[in-house]
Amino acid sequence: MKKITVCIGSSCHLKGSRQVVEALQDYITEHDLKDKVSLSGAFCMKNCREGVSVTVDGVLFSVTPETVGSFFETEILKKL
């Protein structure tokens, strides 16, 4: 089980965490990964400058609504 956590704090919200969350939710449904990937939120990851902050099993990434597609490909799909 992979655990993705998206920061939904103030800064990340303004940088597009909603779009990132929604895109990830869509990809997970599309690839039928509900049993393999869990998605949750975090209030602040203390990485506000580099938002949107996303962690995959504790490893921190900076994702934007533009890069969320390639992030999902390389960090999730390829590593399952």
């Binding site: 103030s10 303004l14 969350v21 929604e22 998605l39 939120g41 506000c48």
Partner: protein, 391 residues
């Protein structure tokens, strides 16, 4: 002193085609006496003239009563002051005075307006009244001991005349209005919502073309409801513990706003912050859950939205349906602060979040401090008792 308080809401509809309302409502606090005085005056006719008559009447009565003068003096002053209508050769404005003393007693003085309707435990209550003659005018006076959930509704005659000759033969009679209020009472609407609902019903009966100025004032006796809102971490980290102890030591519900703030609160409680991922409103970040906290939201963006709702609520009230039914963080805070709370304690931390001081982001420190200032001012105008403590 008891733990009751009175929630007041009022609104008017103007006679069709008029820009000014001929009814006027004045609400004043009597300093030092812990009482409030509400005056509803209905000026003769409509438009500018009626507006002047009713405004003068309501202002004179409320100011004089607040200064402790007797009703006789007030009526005499009005009779001597009001300009005489050149068409009808009378100086005339009807009025209703409701004075709430120490949240224990209501004193009502009624002159020629429809009699105030009162609901006790959700049903019509015929309160005692005595007839007096003051300055040649017949006036009704009542004294009523207040109980929780008592509802008083004062209206101008536009309300009970609603629909005359249109949808109803004789207008909306007093007993019908009472019936309407009895169906609404159990829902627990705020005074403002109650006044709006009754006024909307009148507007519909008038087919949105009111044949008279129509005003509804609702007063609802309720228990005081304290509420506490924590916003931002303290300037000094070593004050975390103290701030949390004071905040959680307060009676009433607890709202926590802000990411870092939430984690400090959770740590103090020995619990975890569990954020949700549901975007009920695309502009407002999702809420989180902490055991022991009634509501936990993101900070600046959410509170900014609450301020928008507060301003609207005091103005056009166009967003009422949005926030009163919304499930996002801002709507939930609005429901708690605007509707449920009577006494609100703000615990504001003044720590500066360096990541927020980016000129590209609309969430810097000054904005945050202004939010608190503006929001507490709006809430005061809604009749709430506000206390702000900074850390």
């Amino acid at each position: 002193m008891n733990d009751l308080c009175v929630d007041v809401g009022y609104r008017s509809l103007n006679h069709v085609g008029e820009e000014l309302c001929g009814d006027h409502v004045e609400l004043v606090e009597q300093e030092g006496e812990d009482s409030i005085i509400l005056v509803l005056a209905d000026g003769l006719g409509s438009g500018v003239k009626a507006g002047i008559l009713s405004t003068l009447t309501a202002r004179i009565i409320s100011t004089m009563m607040a200064a402790g003068l007797s009703i006789e003096d007030c009526v005499e002053t009005i009779a001597a002051t009001l300009p005489v209508c050149s068409v009808r050769n009378v100086a005339y404005s009807t009025f209703t005075i409701i004075r709430i003393i120490r949240n224990e007693e209501a004193e009502m003085i009624q002159y020629d307006n429809p009699l105030v309707m009162m609901l006790r435990d959700g049903v019509n209550y015929e309160y005692p009244k005595t007839e007096l003659t003051v300055g040649g005018k017949k006036v009704y006076k009542s004294k009523i001991r207040l109980r929780e959930n008592d509802i008083f509704v004062a209206v101008s005659d536009g309300c009970i005349h609603a629909g005359v000759g249109r949808s109803l033969n004789f207008g909306w009679e007093r007993k019908d209005v009472i019936g309407f209020l009895e169906t609404l009472a159990p829902v627990g609407y705020t005074a403002k919502a109650l006044a709006n609902l009754l006024l909307e019903a009148c507007d519909n009966l008038y087919d949105h073309q009111p044949g008279d100025d129509t005003t509804v004032c609702a007063l609802r006796v309720r228990r005081r409801e304290p509420m506490n809102l924590l916003f931002g971490p303290p300037t000094k980290r070593e004050d975390n513990e103290k701030m949390m102890r004071l905040f959680f030591g307060k009676e009433g519900k607890h709202i926590v706003c802000g990411g870092t703030t939430s984690s400090i609160a959770a740590q103090y409680l020995g619990e975890r912050v569990c954020p949700t991922l549901e975007f009920f409103d695309p502009d407002v970040p999702p809420i989180a859950e902490i055991r022991g906290v009634d509501l936990c939201t993101e900070g600046v963006i959410t509170v900014n939205k609450v301020l928008d709702y507060a301003k609207d609520c005091l103005g056009d009230n166009k967003l009422y349906e949005k926030w009163s039914l919304g499930k996002d963080g801002a709507s939930r805070i609005a429901q708690l602060l605007f509707e449920e709370a009577t006494d609100i304690n703000f615990f504001v931390g003044r720590a500066i979040n360096p990541a927020h001081q980016n000129p590209d982001l609309p969430i810097n420190f000054n904005i945050k401090m202004n939010l608190v200032k503006e929001l507490s001012e709006c809430l005061r105008r809604m009749g709430k008792r506000i206390k702000v403590s900074y850390f």
